[in-house]
């Protein structure tokens, strides 16, 4: 009889896969959507996205969703709706008994043809988005042609870390007694037990994001540290930065050849959660461009000058007063220009890759002072 065996102890607890939290960052940059209008208008992209969200919620009973709009000058919550207080209990429970559901109950008409949580969610996203669009002035549009992806990413990450804390088995007691100790303890707690798997999906249409190199890089490293994959759907434009994000965090990168088939791309490549991905072959960005953006003009550079103290990158050797812009240490780059820099591009690539693959917070530590 081999019935008594230490291994079968675990069978009891092995149940459904952990619930997954998906944060969708929707790039709502009007400039880019206007260009895309002929192939995929925002409205059809949005309806594809809503079907995808419903599919995600249906895939697991405790699955949750967060939708954030990354607008031209701000990042805005679309769901959970910002009107209510911070939703301490996630609002996508199938029971629909959360505060959010109650809050919205009066506004959303009961539709017998629609699953209740789905219609609540759709209503919330559409109203928030239309409010966001109508509040956008032409002055906002003129000020910048790009989108605030960095802010949206940090919103998503903060929500995820809060959700993970709330999911801890003793979270209730600990959080009530001393929230700070729970926060301090979070690193060790998440490694021992995964109660929630999170991922971020960025629906990106804007092109050049190099002006946000530092905040986005910081977010990438934070996501990497918390093992949150960042998936990218690149509908238009091309940025070095987002490719690096998906590569560094182990996410999926897809640039659809036919944007009008967005829904099928979403369903096939982006719906599987961390549990399913273990047994699937996922698409990734083929050749990743690892070039960095300089800290002075936010240009993507092939060859740059690096501060020997804080490793900030500059595109030109002419610094004001010969001081590093980031750390303020004396930095004379003129001497470097007299000799041709002996940098082999191949080697530089490899070095960069090392920096992003291992979790050493090198570049992120550099970036932090600038961020504040």
């Amino acid at each position: 009889m081999n019935a008594i065996d230490g291994t079968d102890r675990h069978i009891v607890t092995e149940g459904a896969p952990p619930p997954s939290l998906l944060a969708i960052v929707l790039d709502t940059n009007p400039h880019a959507w206007a260009e895309l209008h002929s192939t995929l208008p925002l409205s059809s992209a949005l309806s594809a996205l809503l079907v995808f969200i419903n599919a995600h919620l249906a895939s697991g009973n405790a699955n949750e969703i967060v939708v954030i709009a990354s607008h031209t000058n701000c990042a805005e919550w679309l769901y959970p709706s910002p009107r209510g207080p911070y939703p301490s209990s996630p609002t996508t429970e199938p029971n629909g008994n959360s505060s959010e559901a109650r809050h919205n109950k009066d506004h959303v008409p009961g539709d017998p043809n629609k699953f209740r949580p789905f219609s609540l969610l759709e209503h919330s996203i559409l109203t928030s988005l239309s409010r966001l669009v109508s509040s956008t002035t032409s002055a906002d549009l003129a000020s910048t042609p790009t989108t605030s992806i960095g802010g949206a990413l940090s919103l998503a990450l903060t929500y995820m870390s809060k959700a993970a804390l709330l999911r801890e088995p003793v979270a209730n007691d600990a959080a009530n007694a001393n929230p700070l100790s729970a926060l301090a303890d979070s690193e060790s707690a998440t490694t021992t037990r995964t109660t929630l798997t999170s991922r971020i999906l960025i629906l990106s249409v804007s092109g050049d994001l190099a002006n946000q190199y530092i905040p986005v890089m910081n977010c990438i490293f934070a996501a990497q540290r918390r093992r949150i994959p960042i998936d990218i759907v690149k509908l238009a434009g091309d940025t070095v930065l987002l490719q690096q994000a998906s590569d560094a965090t182990g996410g999926v990168y897809v640039k659809p050849e036919r944007p009008e088939g967005l829904l099928q791309y979403l369903m096939m490549a982006f719906l599987p959660d961390a549990t399913s991905r273990r047994s699937l072959v996922m698409p990734t960005a083929g050749g990743v461009d690892f070039r960095a953006a300089c800290f002075c003009h936010r240009n993507v550079v092939d060859i740059g000058y690096v501060c020997s103290v804080c490793l900030s990158i500059f595109c030109s050797p002419t610094l004001q007063d010969n001081l590093c812009l980031t750390c303020g240490s004396y930095l004379s780059l003129r001497s470097a220009t007299s000799k041709t820099p002996q940098v082999i591009p191949r080697k530089k690539k490899k070095k960069k890759r090392l920096g992003t693959d291992s979790a050493t917070p090198g570049p992120s530590a550099v970036g932090t002072p600038m961020h504040g």
Binding site: M1, V12, A62, S279
Partner: protein, 471 residues
């Protein structure tokens, strides 16, 4: 398959014939519930990938989509989908295998996701305001009262707590009869005693209990002159309703109206009177299609809406010295615990006792298995216990099993012996397939014999092989 509670519903559903499946899949709410609760995790991924695919999914592409190490989970997912008649494997003119979603299922699932159509299968809210509207707290209290009465009816008499005062609320003749039909209790000369199946029932989570009872109900629907499909789709609809909302009964069929009466006796729906024009689903109903814990019976006083998942409802602490502390004042919980624990002390909010050899063997003699005890203790483990993995101390788990095995040295598994294979390759191929399905129980390589506890998938596989081999 995704949770223990819906497993029984899955087992029941699988045994239904194809026609019933096709009929069931006409309702979007049913399809959504089947998708959410019955399918293995990867099967959901496959269905979603195929849902908006314009062409059939060829088997070669599907193979390429999975990593080599994911083959066994893929086979399991596909077999579950085929058994539920959700996908069909077909061969086209060029003899290439491909998979197709069944049309009815795909259409209904698309409707459920997009919210189109006029099927009205997600419940029609009552348009006229109810003069005696009830709130969620009332519904929870009502559901808990009804359900605990049923449990108490089963457990109470065996433990000896069934004094007339505690059983004052009657649970209705229909329910009693149902419990008897499901073989959960036996009535001998007017005295109710619980059976082995009854223990299994009581020790489950509430959600699973509800399903077990409903499945007994379903099995007996033909005798009552009700259509099985109607009953099932009504149950799945109930699972997608919203708590605290009143729904009109005017759109329900005759069968469903008849069901409402029985369901309100269980506490699954609430009606203010026998012929009220509206009904309220209770928490027992709305959690039918999710694995969230339905009712916490651990603490009757606390508001159950505060506890989100079953993991936060735990109240039992077991120490390595076999002592057991349970933070509860519910008589029902205490009587369940006393089935297998030697309880010594009772405080206002706590009972303490010890798991002894005597108490466990007594429970085993009554027909409770060690795995039932362990799963009960695990699912009700206190949050403090949940910090460790596994939740219970390993020594205690092993000892409880050992105590049980002292009495039972032989284990039986009903199934089929496969033998007389023509060649080693044939034997190995089939054995490996059985292994990947998880039905292989025993094998003897030299004799080329193996034993499985499920044969329908294997025979399908063999038939397919024969047709392919005959090309």
């Amino acid at each position: 398959m995704s949770g223990s509670s819906s497993e029984q519903a899955y087992e029941y559903l699988v045994l239904l014939p194809r026609q019933t499946h096709t009929k069931l899949y006409e309702q979007p709410s049913t399809v959504l519930a089947v998708f959410r609760c019955m399918l293995p995790h990867l099967a959901k991924t496959i269905v979603m990938a195929m849902l908006y695919m314009p062409t059939p999914f060829s088997a070669v592409d599907l193979e390429a989509w999975f990593r080599p190490e994911g083959k066994s989970v893929k086979d399991k997912a596909l077999s579950a989908l085929e058994r539920l008649h959700i996908i069909q494997a077909k061969q086209d003119a060029t003899r290439h295998m491909h998979y197709e979603l069944s049309k009815g299922f795909a259409n209904s699932l698309r409707q459920a996701l997009t919210g189109g159509g006029t099927h009205r299968s997600f419940g029609v809210p009552s348009s006229t305001p109810d003069p005696n509207k009830v709130d969620t707290e009332f519904l929870d209290a009502y559901a808990r009262k009804q359900w605990e009465n049923i449990l108490f009816y089963m457990v109470g008499s065996t433990v000896g707590l069934a004094s007339s005062a505690q059983l004052s609320q009657d649970i209705g003749l229909g329910t009693k009869k149902l419990l008897e039909m499901g073989n959960f209790v036996q009535v001998r000369s007017g005295r109710v005693s619980i059976t082995r199946e009854g223990f299994t029932f009581v020790l489950q989570e509430t959600n699973a209990q509800v399903w077990s009872l409903l499945i007994v109900y379903l099995r007996h629907t033909p005798e009552l002159g009700m259509s099985e499909t109607d009953v099932l789709s009504f149950l799945f609809m109930l699972g997608s309703l919203e708590l605290g909302q009143d729904y009109t009964t005017s759109t329900l069929s005759e069968t469903q109206l008849q069901m409402l009466e029985d369901l309100s006796a269980f506490g699954i729906v609430y009606r203010s009177s026998k012929n009220a024009a509206t009904f309220y689903p209770t928490r027992l109903a709305v959690t039918l299609t999710s694995d969230a814990g339905a009712l916490s019976t651990s603490d009757s006083l606390s508001s159950i809406s505060a506890s989100r998942s079953s993991s936060q409802q735990g109240f039992i602490i077991v120490e390595t010295n076999y002592r057991l502390y349970a933070y509860t004042n519910s008589l029902l919980q205490i009587s369940i615990l006393s089935l297998f624990t030697k309880l010594t002390t009772r405080f206002p909010n706590l009972v303490s006792g010890k798991l002894t050899k005597e108490s466990i063997t007594r429970a085993v003699k009554l027909g409770i298995s060690s795995s039932q005890i362990l799963s009960y203790l695990t699912s009700h483990a206190h949050p403090q216990m949940q910090k460790h993995q596994p939740f219970l101390p390993p020594t205690v788990m092993d000892q409880i099993r050992l105590w049980e095995y002292e009495g039972e040295r032989v284990e039986t598994t009903p199934g089929f012996l496969m033998r007389d294979f023509k060649s080693w390759d044939e034997y190995r191929d089939l054995k490996e397939y059985a292994e990947s399905l998880g039905v292989l129980v025993w094998h003897h390589d030299e004799k080329r014999w193996f034993f499985v506890n499920g044969v329908d998938q294997l025979s399908l596989y063999m038939k397919k092989k024969v047709t392919r081999g005959g090309e």
